[in-house]
Symmetry: C2
Subunit: 318 residues, 2 copies
Amino acid sequence: MKKINIGLLGMGNIGTGTYVLLEKNKDIIQEATGCQVEITKILDRDTTRDRGIYVDPKKFVSDIDDIVLDEDVQVVIELLGGVSPAKDFIYAALHSGKHVVTANKAAVAADMPRLVSEAKANNVKFMFEASVGGGIPVLSAINGPLQANHFEEVLGIVNGTTNYILTKMTDEGLEYADVLKKAQELGFAEADPTGDVEGLDAANKLSILIYLMFGKYVAPSDIPTTGITKVTKEDIKAAKEKGAVIKLLAKADKDTYSVGPELVSLDHPLSSVNNEFNAIYLTGDAVGQVMLYGKGAGPMPTASAVLGDVIQILKGEK
Amino acid sequence: MKKINIGLLGMGNIGTGTYVLLEKNKDIIQEATGCQVEITKILDRDTTRDRGIYVDPKKFVSDIDDIVLDEDVQVVIELLGGVSPAKDFIYAALHSGKHVVTANKAAVAADMPRLVSEAKANNVKFMFEASVGGGIPVLSAINGPLQANHFEEVLGIVNGTTNYILTKMTDEGLEYADVLKKAQELGFAEADPTGDVEGLDAANKLSILIYLMFGKYVAPSDIPTTGITKVTKEDIKAAKEKGAVIKLLAKADKDTYSVGPELVSLDHPLSSVNNEFNAIYLTGDAVGQVMLYGKGAGPMPTASAVLGDVIQILKGEK
């Protein structure tokens, strides 16, 4: 059986989840690809942390060149997060002729057109299904079964932290600050929640959706973005009286785009997307309205999308 | 530019929609595939019916051999509906080395394992995204971005006619027979609604889902199937009192499968899938719950999926 070696950049929660899922569902991956797939090298400084699984310490490297210059590595999975140095590492991998799979919306959104064209120029695949909506198969749908459509609009609940906070504010009549505190205690919000609550994470994802649906690149910083920190329990009560809920929506059509809190009428499918769930509601000229719903984050949903991309790449090589 | 000729089997509503969409969204298809795609031959006895568009009468043929033996035809789109003669025509096309795209759930479900293996043996693609959920990108998701999962369960509202009838019964407190009559007048139900209201259409779709998700073939006739004809307004009232609605669910896990009316709790995402909309709710061991929602029928949503498949095939040939 053909052996495929993967270099993994970043062994935090998502990286660990991906490592675990690759072991757990080895049977499916072999069956689908005809390959024996193994993570043979891991770029991560922390070699001793307890990740709940055994990982051969010899797999850990501290220099990106140990992976991108390794001729035995065919695929690089980038799960470092953040623009830098992740983006440089992705370029290095593409230039070395490796396929790249990433879940990193910040890095993808920062430089999407060039990343896509560099992959083409090097005749390798660059896939990032996990970067928008985590496990929800939205990007593949846009590029695949929905690709005969001219897209008209997208409305997305694409950030789980803010959706969790708004749901709790709605259900329990609490103020933003109180729910945030509770969410941080429960692990649904980070210690520094800025990227989520100010809408920056959603803007990264919207930038990617705009590129794939409308064929133009809008940098995340050029998307008018409002977070949820100023939403009050009075706002939510007023929405309820109008038969609506407040959701942080990432929305775009051919000409306009924005991220911000919006009223969503209770008869709209997005209104019942609650807690940490995400959903993307698309309109195409042929298909009409389509909604894709699921877990937008977390190690296992993200690993599902990452390994879905890896399988797709290897199927294409068969 | 490379020219791709398509043979279309069946020019009813769906076939006409596909013809229209191919013309309308030619730009996207050329851009995505680098090919000029044209329907050059149409198998349909009715050459004179007003379809609302101009079709060159010379395109019509009455013998399947005029298409499957035509060396200039690379792709066959089968939209005849029903098992026979559609299935034989699909085999004839596959044997002649043509890629086949179909929306015909009855034909696919009738003989899925052999159809798939015949396509492989002839080194051509056999695609049928439109056969389940119309425009909803569910089969591509199972075979693509979700393929790293062991699937655990599927719950589907996969028949628009029955969902429309149950929704109206629920919203307006009417009896089945009265709503059916109204649905027939409005074109939401066929003159002979048996295949829909007895659950046979849903069983065909469930057979296809079981094959792709659980890797085993269950003939539609082997799926325990109950329709909605015996659902009364009292049943619906009783469900409401329990905080639920009645939906015709196609459901399966690894070991069990059935089609029938079921209570769906109001806090379940499927409970708000109303009227002619369809939704498929999947559980995978990594991704957790995913729901895909949209229009499960109609010429344009179906054409969206059919041409999505065509583009996918042509991209693979680039």
